[in-house]
Amino acid sequence: MKSFVFPEFQIIRDEEKCGQCRGCERQCSFGTHTYDPLTDRLISDDYKCAGCQRCVIFCPKDAIVVRPTQSFYRPNASWSREKIEDLKKQAETGGVILTGCGNDKPFRIYWDHIVLNASQVTNPSIDPLREPMELRTFLGAKPDLMDIDFKGGDVEIKTKISPHLMVETPILFSAMSYGAISYNAFKSLATASKQFGTLFNTGEGGLPRELRAEFGGNAIVQVASGRYGIDAEYLNCAAAVEIKVGQGAKPGIGGHLPGEKVSQSVAETRMIPVGTDAISPAPHHDIYSIEDLSMLIHALKEATNYEKPVSVKIAAVHNVAAIASGIVRAGADIIAIDGLRGGTGAAPKAIRDNVGIPIELAISALDMRLKNEGIRNRCSIVAAGGLRSSSDIIKAIALGADAVYIGTAALIAMGCTLCQKCNTGKCNWGLCTQDPRLSGRLNTEIATKRLTNLLNAWSHEIMEMLGGMGINAIESLRGNRDHLRGIGLYEWELEVLGIKGAGQ
């Protein structure tokens, strides 16, 4: 059937500059560029281009420009080009449209409507280059009251404190499974978190055995509905265990790793046969209620000898605050919430673009709810889904998060250009692929450096902003909405965020 969808991108090659080195041909996994020996020219097929910009960056002559196509349908506010094309594609295939990355629709991004405070006169700002500025963060359940014993100047804490995670910066790497991402990308995340003193999350694809001894201490291992790659050693080598209930990019939906991506090593790690589809069901088949979740939490604590905090990750949906409150009462030490903009390796586009609520509102609603119920101490909140910069992170903390997970941002640091083709397994940047030719493009040392650089840069920026507010320890900003003001928001939005408008 002839497709009626025209290309998204237009490739323009400057023939004057092009040296016919065929680099672009080798770079593109989608087969966009081919060499024509007759004319000694490179030919590009716009239809195949994913817009990942790999060839543009790697062309030694700077000869290529890839830009959105100039063609357009008659402009129509209701029938946008995307709507028309999605419909056409479905008419041509009869299938669900799959995509990668996070929601790209113009829902309000609250980060961009919130401004931060700074000290003037009455309270000196603090210069992080001269004074201590502390980002160390502990994640886990805190006791309400502590029983401290004093005997002759000797102090002893009698209350048994639940296990905690310590990170040197409140930025953790979000769940990205080996299988969805390449071995090199996975290992780079692990190495960077170890070097920086933070944590990475294995996602639901297990933790390759050879990485356990070295990186287990920096790993949060996931237990998801597919239960891939789980054994006692997997749970016990880690810093913490996370039960994945939902994901911001696809709340209410399970996962599907196509058989083509299940290589020998992925199969071993997931404990499934090579080449089989790895399907994670939408719900956990043993969790149909909060009581069931509570049992799983305690089973995992039992399995890890009560030495590791247990986190529960849910997607930010309408009743996120009430649900999370139940989860805290069920015994979770950490609640990870993943907002509307959270990324994914593959999700139905209709779900990705329409289900869930923005993380900003979810953090605030959850924090306030737990405070009102007097149980905020009993868990830490880790926020995920759409954090793009250090300022987003500091705002998340002021709205009540203890720390954040970054997924998309970490991928971008390693080279991702948000082309949204992760589901194809052909990622030209070596990130979301199991093709050894492609994943080999990602040099773990360089990728690790790029990740630690990012953590370093963002941590410094957070310090600068904290110092500006006259605060020298990150815990003093947690839930401290005093330091935030909203701009261009409706009254109900300010209410949910618990902040005043600018100038108020």
Binding site: P132, K142, L145, I157, N472, S476, R478, N480, H483, Q504
Partner: protein, 374 residues
């Protein structure tokens, strides 16, 4: 569904002078000296707030809780009617042993004074409240009055002690309440205030107090929002929207309810930095790490110097990087704390020792014999 009102924080900001004097033998003295000392720091205030806490002033009523109340309103009638409303509540929940209007001098001109009344009471706990300790019961009732009863405000609620405060320079407030003539205390703490952003309100002056704990404070707490929600989870309603109130409540929570000694409390309010903690020996490191982990939300961030008054104790503490220093001094049995050394020298030219404590390190003056005041 009714819309929940958006929670707005209205924090006020002020710079100030603080002073404290204590006789560690428990001998009582009038407020004359401390009034002179605080007057010497006149320029640190702007006449929009001054106040005193005095310990040991009601020996004849020492077994009763002394409530100091402010009744506000636009007219004398409004103030009276606020009092009538409060009296009804009081009689239902307390046995009132005696009450009177707190004497004041009409010669001192102060702006819009509220009606200020004093009650000596004992709790009358009913039903489930019988399970509460007397002190928890008082805290609950004080929170109730200050949040629910309009125009009535409890600003002092301890035994054998009391706060006196208002809008004006502290030395004027002292004269208004005739502290140099009517009261003798073994500990006095004083505060002169320089609020930068609120309208003057009598209740907004320092000290802030709950039961026997009083706090006078100089500085601004940038962690206010975090401290406040933490305390609210434990039932402390921060109604006055000042930094100082959260310190008073934090001290109550830690020292009274959890019986943690001041040395440890100081490590919670103004903990050492991680760099120092990481270098400590294992035991200390574990203790301080746990304290910071559990009580991180009570870390008071930003510049502050405070004087905490308690029965038999006066404590000085500054923030962990000492952005607002305090001076401590002793002379015989006298123990002084002040924003400025000159004020101490003014009333005690010769001193045995004078020092500036390190950031986060509490200086504690204690009665040599608690029995002298109990």
């Amino acid at each position: 569904m009714p819309r929940i009102r958006r929670e707005l924080y209205n924090k006020e900001i002020c710079a100030c002078s603080i002073f404290g004097a204590m006789n560690r033998d428990g001998e009582r003295f009038t407020g004359k000296g401390v009034m002179k000392a605080i007057a010497n720091m006149h320029v640190r205030g702007n006449g929009l707030g001054g106040g005193f806490a005095a310990y040991g002033i009601y020996p004849e009523y020492k077994d009763y809780y002394a409530f100091h109340l402010m009744f506000t309103g636009n007219s004398p009638e409004a103030k009276r009617s606020a009092k009538i409303g409060f009296d009804a509540f009081l009689c239902e929940n307390f046995d009132v042993v005696s009450d009177d209007e707190i004497p004041h001098s009409d010669e001192v001109v102060v702006s819009d004074p509220p009606l200020i009344w004093r009650y000596y009471v004992l709790p009358r706990k009913q039903g489930e409240e019988a399970l509460l300790s007397d002190e928890d019961y008082i805290v609950k009732m004080v929170m109730h009055v200050n949040t629910k009863i309009e125009n009535a405000h409890v600003f002092s609620s301890g035994k054998n002690m009391g706060c006196f405060k208002g809008v004006g320079y502290p030395e004027d407030i002292g004269e208004y309440f005739m502290l140099d003539k009517l009261y003798s205390a073994y500990t006095w703490t004083v505060h002169g205030r320089f609020p930068t952003n609120t309208q003057a309100w009598w209740g907004g002056a320092h000290p802030f107090s709950l039961l026997n704990t009083t706090v006078v404070h100089n500085g601004e707490i940038s962690s206010y929002g975090t401290n406040r929600w933490y305390l609210e989870m434990y039932g402390y309603a921060c109604t006055l929207q000042t930094d100082t109130e959260v310190i008073a409540y934090a001290v109550d929570l830690l020292m009274r309810r959890q019986s943690i000694p001041i040395e440890i409390v100081a490590k919670i309010l103004a903990p050492p930095i991680w760099n120092s903690i990481d270098r400590m020996d294992e035991k200390e490191k574990k203790l301080l790490t746990t304290l910071r982990m559990v009580y991180g939300s009570l870390l008071m961030n930003g510049p502050f110097a405070i004087i905490i008054g308690q029965t038999g104790k006066m404590i000085g503490l500054t923030d962990r990087i000492r952005l607002r220093p305090i001076t401590a001094a002793t002379r015989g049995e006298m123990f002084y704390l002040s924003s400025e050394e000159a004020s101490i020298r003014l009333i005690s030219p010769v001193l045995d020792s004078v020092w500036t404590p390190n950031g986060g390190e509490p200086v504690v003056g204690e009665l040599n014999n608690m029995r002298t005041v109990l």
